[in-house]
């Protein structure tokens, strides 16, 4: 009977975890709802935050999607050395810590940055990176690459035969655009727009560092301010409900518009369409150079500024670094353990609600969860005690949907390919985990772990709610920025970026080698 018991235990574990996750998230949301005071509790300031959240997300999404089109087209129809590296690089912002990118944008677009030096030189008014324009600039920085990858996928999905047919019919670039490219874009762009819109809807770190004030406060930032500055839990909770409402409504849009998978595809090396000659060559080169420059320049600027100063960083930065690395590792292990059990349950089929539970984190923003957990735990723990555990837990949960996207298909394949063989050999429990599941799922587990570790490492979100004496590295970086120690902040940023990428690389590589 051992196998039966183990089988039952496997099955129960998945359901129990999913139920636990759903209880945690929904319970937290209910705690928030009970604390909330009804919409009448919100002042005009709060409604401005709602309005700003909506229009900045809409505008950021529109700009990212539209600017991505020429870049994706250039990448689709030109072949050049470094193209593959560039497309890979376009995936990097996903795991680039937001606060690092902000440092980079300040280095280029800030008061003393190259842009304003140039503007001053030709006598034009300065550009301020703070305020709504800075928020949108940062959102485009993060989401333009994502959009390019998603649109490039659309281009590559046009069958090569169709381009050949177009060529044999003597189509010019305008004809190709009309008959092949525009129909594809009409199908792809709404999904790209919605994907970016969803990301920007829960934007916190960008608004925290570059926004603020009446004209550039998002709902997430307003929750933080209500919580931290006014300690008005009722208002924070009410805003949390508004944030959930926004997310649910936006997810509802996804019923009509298919949202593409998060990171976009890699590149097929197959020969794509041949690009037209003439002035369009120059235009394509310009599009690629501008996009690459926009992406790389801020990162290079902050690296040049910060790298030499890393050895001079004060000891508390190194303590924060160690703390962050440990937290990121715990978060990653939690996240992939949870993801693995859920994916195996989902692969067994039947229980659609388990999959739903795994995707729940997408509607719950980190700040809302943080507020809810604080409300639930405040009777037992001091804010200082709960800061790090709550941060670790929320980061693990927030990374879960991304991990599940790679784990679920792999778990389904595993079951289809080897499920019957394992059953017939009575391979169950730990033996099955060790000799079948872990070896076969090492790649997606490594990838999911890398994402979770990098996201946790770079996250500057829920930790800001708690006035903790043990800051994480991103929080330490933010504190340095706020005290205008920009040299140290830049060094911190380089360190944080390097560790985030290294963690991702180690996990991902480990999964491939296993």
């Amino acid at each position: 009977m051992a196998a039966g018991v183990f089988g039952l235990r496997d099955r129960a574990a998945g359901a129990a975890l999913a139920a636990g996750l759903a209880t945690l998230i929904l319970g937290t949301l209910i705690a928030v709802a009970l604390q909330a005071r009804g919409l009448s509790g919100l002042g005009p300031w709060d409604w401005r935050a709602v309005w700003f959240t909506l229009w900045q997300a809409a505008l950021s999404a529109a700009l990212s999607a539209l600017l991505a089109v020429p870049v994706a087209r250039a990448l689709a129809r030109r072949r050049f050395p470094g193209r593959a590296a560039l497309v890979t690089l376009l995936g990097a912002p996903f795991i680039l810590p937001v606060i690092v990118a902000i440092m980079g944008l300040i280095a280029v677009f800030g008061r003393n940055g190259a842009l304003n030096d140039g503007l001053r030189l030709i006598g034009l008014p300065e550009f301020s990176v703070y305020g709504w324009q800075g928020v949108i600039l940062a959102h485009v920085f993060f989401n333009l690459p994502l959009s390019v990858r998603l649109i490039l996928q659309g281009w590559q999905a046009i069958p090569a035969e169709r381009f050949r047919l177009a060529e044999s019919l003597g189509f010019g670039p305008a004809d190709i655009a009309r008959h092949l490219e525009r129909p594809m874009l009409r199908a792809v762009l709404p999904g790209v727009w919605l994907a970016v819109f969803l990301v920007c809807l829960t934007s916190f770190t960008v608004a925290l560092a570059l926004g603020g004030g009446p004209s550039a406060t998002t709902v997430e930032l307003a929750i933080y301010q209500a919580f931290r500055f006014d300690f008005d839990l009722g208002r924070a909770a009410t805003l949390g409900l508004v944030q959930i409402g926004l997310c649910v409504a936006a997810m509802g849009l996804a019923r009509w518009i298919a949202v593409p998978a998060a990171f976009g595809a890699g590149i097929a090396s197959q020969q794509g369409p041949r690009g037209p000659r003439g002035w369009r060559v120059g235009a394509d080169i310009a599009a690629i150079l501008l996009a690459a420059g926009f992406l790389l320049w801020p990162i290079l600027a902050v690296t040049i500024q910060g790298l030499p100063r890393i050895p001079l960083l004060p000891p508390e930065v190194w303590q924060a670094t160690l703390r962050s690395v440990v937290m990121a590792l715990v978060s990653a292990v939690l996240s992939i353990s949870l993801g693995l059990v859920l994916a195996l349950s989902i692969a067994r089929g039947r229980a659609a609600w388990i999959e739903l539970a795994g995707m729940l984190p997408l509607v719950a923003s980190p700040l809302v969860l943080g507020t809810g957990l604080f409300i639930l735990l405040r009777g037992w723990l001091s804010p200082d005690d709960m800061a790090l555990p709550v941060t670790v837990a929320i980061n693990a949960i927030m990374a879960l949907p991304f991990g599940l996207r790679s784990l679920i298909p792999a778990a389904r394949d595993l079951r289809a390919d080897y499920g019957r063989l394992a059953e017939s050999l009575n391979l169950h429990g730990m033996a099955r985990l060790r000799y079948l599941t872990l070896p076969r799922l090492a790649r997606p587990l490594g990838f999911a772990g890398g994402l979770a570790a990098a996201l946790a490492m770079g996250d500057l979100g829920v930790i800001t709610l708690f006035a903790t004496n043990d800051p994480t590295l991103p929080l330490k970086l933010y504190q340095l920025m706020n005290s205008y120690r920009m040299q140290d902040a830049a060094a911190c940023a380089v360190l944080l970026m390097a560790i985030s990428f290294l963690l991702f690389w180690l996990f991902d590589r480990g999964g491939r080698l296993a």
Partner: protein, 230 residues
């Protein structure tokens, strides 16, 4: 005695009924058109499928409550009989202990089984470094070690060439002799049935018939079987 009494399975348009007995130690071929339910019959005995109605028993023991791994059954599938990430020796060792905690004598048993199928030095290799025929031998070595009284084969050698296939059937025959197993083998090839099985079950039009002597059946096939054999 392997008994299938009053079995009825239905899934959508597909249905299969069976009511038959197979003597211990018998070698039985299962033939019939594609989609007639040959593999379904094996899945029923192997435990991958529960019938809506009826009984499956072996030597008087009801098999239905048992999971596939608990049944007195070894199963060779059409493909995916080996785990590609485990070594040949590990793949065989799973037949002794699924947790692979093998003592020295058990490791000797694994080595012995590999020697008997002609793969003496292949233990440390991965399946991908073996030919198709050698991979079949690894799976057969595991069958030999598990020594379960019932052996179910779902066209396991269909990807092999004719010479290799008859070699495998001969090896299979020796292993079945050694373990005194009752063998049920799905096949598309009446030649396999003649060569290996003294009895044959015809599956057609939603029914698995009782086993009949292979020679007589194939020499003088009923109308439906003749249409299938061509």
């Amino acid at each position: 005695m392997l008994e299938l009494s009053d079995i009825h399975v239905a899934r959508g348009d597909f249905a299969l009924a069976a009511d038959l007995r197979i003597a211990p130690g018998a070698r039985v071929a299962i033939i019939g058109p594609s989609g007639s339910g040959k593999s379904t019959l094996l899945s029923l005995i192997g435990g991958f499928l529960t019938p809506q109605r009826g009984q499956v028993s072996w030597q008087g023991t009801d098999l239905l409550p048992l999971s596939p791994g608990q049944r007195p059954v070894s199963f060779l599938f059409q493909d995916q009989n080996l785990f590609p990430h485990l070594s040949v020796a590990q793949n065989v060792g799973l037949g002794l202990r699924p947790d692979l905690r093998l003592g020295p004598d058990q490791q000797a048993q694994v080595q012995d089984a590999l020697t008997q199928v002609g793969l003496r030095d292949m233990g440390p290799r991965k399946p991908e470094n073996l030919s198709g025929g050698q991979q079949s031998r690894v799976a057969l070595a595991r069958v030999l070690l598990r020594a379960r009284p019932i052996l179910l084969l779902d066209e396991p050698f269909s990807a092999l060439g004719p010479a290799l296939k008859s070699e495998m059937l001969a090896l299979l025959g020796r292993i079945a002799d050694r373990t005194r197993a009752t063998v049920l083998m799905v096949t598309h090839d009446p030649g396999d049935a003649r060569a290996f099985a003294d009895q044959t079950i015809v599956v057609d039009q939603g029914r698995a018939e009782a086993p009949q002597p292979t020679q007589a059946l194939l020499d003088n096939p009923p109308a439906a079987l003749r249409a299938y054999l061509g």
